[in-house]
Symmetry: C2
Subunit: 336 residues, 2 copies
């Protein structure tokens, strides 16, 4: 079987350019003993991949040069030389950025057909677990909580909105631009939506949406943004609110000192708990998360929130699309 | 019995001046039915009293004009017209700012003689409970944790240092000036002490003290200050550190936008939990706190960290002393 792969040719300086990469075609031999041959159906891209293109030590090693990059992928077994897998099996791997591959059986995790294959890269994958652990464990969501989600049209935020809604909560989401706000209302079916780019004061906008749903304030904040979003959430928090700190994208490339939030003292007066977390620490929740996701999918209450690019030739466009702010939901490449 | 009382004569504008107050002498009649007569031994002052001098609604009502102010006091029953109390009983009340008073029995709480009377205004009173609840419940102190305390020479911080030390932890404290730092080392017996006024970088100072005790970082931060102290604590935090947010005194009178902390994103990368709290929500811990305090006192391991003024005539000096930054520990007035 032939496979095309995207290789990293050199370490990018700043923004990546086409010359940093190469598309390489190769003929796959039959799988060796203990190996499985997989044809990828979908791969996902995320901004963290940019970090792995640098030669910097982190909790995950950098991409090798002149080798295919890596990333989450879901595929179908086409040939197996291992007793644990058979042709037709649906498998998750970290071996994206390629159309097909041979790999040791240990690199694969079987997935069942209860969900569409790409769901395992989205609401039934790490983005799903990130949203699920943040809301249910870190924020300890309880009946009646009003939930505010920032970056609500993003890969994780879009799932957080749906989990909270499916658990019976009122949900307010914030995103940038009318198209994303329409997506929040029409697809994610949030109770309140804020276009932060159109609001002179995010705090006033959140106060307005809180009032519109007949609430006093918010009980849970699913934090992806930081800065003025955190300030607004503190301002509108009810006593004993819980903030799950999943990301603070406004703070990552800050060159000047932050001037917000100005109201961290509300942590005391309102007895707020803020907790940062990483989904990898909460893998034990995966079976419970998958069971809920299958039930919600079957009931038609879990939308596949995604921006899809077609074919390995568009994989770099998908990656670059992450940085324009135009993509909605998880950014995926359909490979098979 | 005669009593002198400090009355609020008018609502102060900005800093309080002697003309805002009056010292009033009065003759107490014998206690009426259901009343108890108490001679105060000690009263304590705290900065929150300034807020109650304003006519502003809060969770606690403002002081009345032309009446004695209120505050925590410990006294001895001198006459009783209620079956629940007898002369000689040690009683806690909110009826400070006066040498003696008659009050309904319901305004009094009996205290035993296991501790020196003034301890019930300090480590066995609300400051003690504040430190205890913050460390043990909010920060969930566990064996081996390294503890950092800001405003460590203050009423609450000085107790937090001692609780942590008595529970077997390494403790680093921060305070302003050589006298306070000597107090941290000699009286509170902390393992590391930082004079924040003498350090160009609090983060570097904390890193140095952490290294000096052979630790990698801090596990618990008892937060009284905010701003650069919070930034240093985030920088030196170990993974899964817990921050009990008791106060943020650097933030209360901020006229410009805060420029620190610049590293709130460490909440995620280090999975830090920050939680604000108010001791009144944790009164259920009082019996356990008292038992520990008596045991530590009996073992000679609980210092009375206090600045003492003598006599009701010095009560306003005690109050003004709170705002000069000179006082160490709890600020108290010896009345009896």
């Amino acid at each position: 079987m032939q496979s095309r792969e995207i290789h990293l040719k050199r370490r990018p300086a700043g923004d990546t350019v086409p010359e940093d990469f190469a598309t390489v075609a190769r003929e796959l031999p039959p799988p060796a003993a203990g190996e499985v041959q997989v044809r990828n159906l979908w791969m996902a891209v995320d901004p963290a991949m940019r970090g792995r293109m640098n030669d910097v030590r982190s909790y995950i090693p950098p991409f090798a040069l002149d080798a295919p990059m890596e990333g989450p992928a879901i595929g179908e077994v086409t040939a197996s030389n291992d007793p644990g897998f058979a042709p037709g099996d649906l498998v998750f791997s970290r071996l994206g950025w390629r159309e097909a591959f041979n790999a040791p059986a240990s690199a694969l995790q079987r997935r069942d057909r209860a969900l569409p294959p790409q769901a395992y890269l989205c609401y039934a994958g790490m983005p799903g677990l990130t949203a699920y652990a943040g809301l249910l464990r870190i924020a300890a969501l309880k009946p009646g909580d009003v939930v505010f989600v920032s970056a609500a049209s993003g890969a994780v935020g879009s799932i957080a909105c749906q989990i909270a809604r499916n658990k019976g909560h009122k949900v307010i989401g914030s995103a940038g631009g009318p198209e994303k706000v329409a997506f929040l209302r029409d697809v994610l079916k949030v109770d309140g939506a804020i276009d932060y780019k159109a609001e002179p004061s995010l705090t006033k906008a959140l106060a307005r949406e809180v009032k519109a749903i007949g609430a006093e304030g918010i009980d849970v904040y699913f934090e992806n943004v930081g800065g003025d979003h955190l300030q607004a959430a503190l301002s509108l928090a009810n006593d004993f609110a819980r903030f799950a700190i999943c990301g603070m994208i406004s703070q990552y490339n800050l060159t000047e000192a932050p001037v917000v939030p100005r109201n961290l003292t509300m942590l005391m007066t309102k007895r707020i708990r803020m907790e940062g977390y990483i989904a990898l620490d909460h893998m034990d929740l995966e079976p419970q998360m998958l069971a809920d996701m299958v039930a919600w999918h079957d009931a038609g209450r879990m939308a596949q929130a995604e921006t899809v690019y077609e074919g390995i030739d568009k994989a770099l466009d998908a990656f670059w699309g992450l940085f324009t702010g135009a993509n909605i939901g998880r950014t995926m490449v359909k490979l098979g």
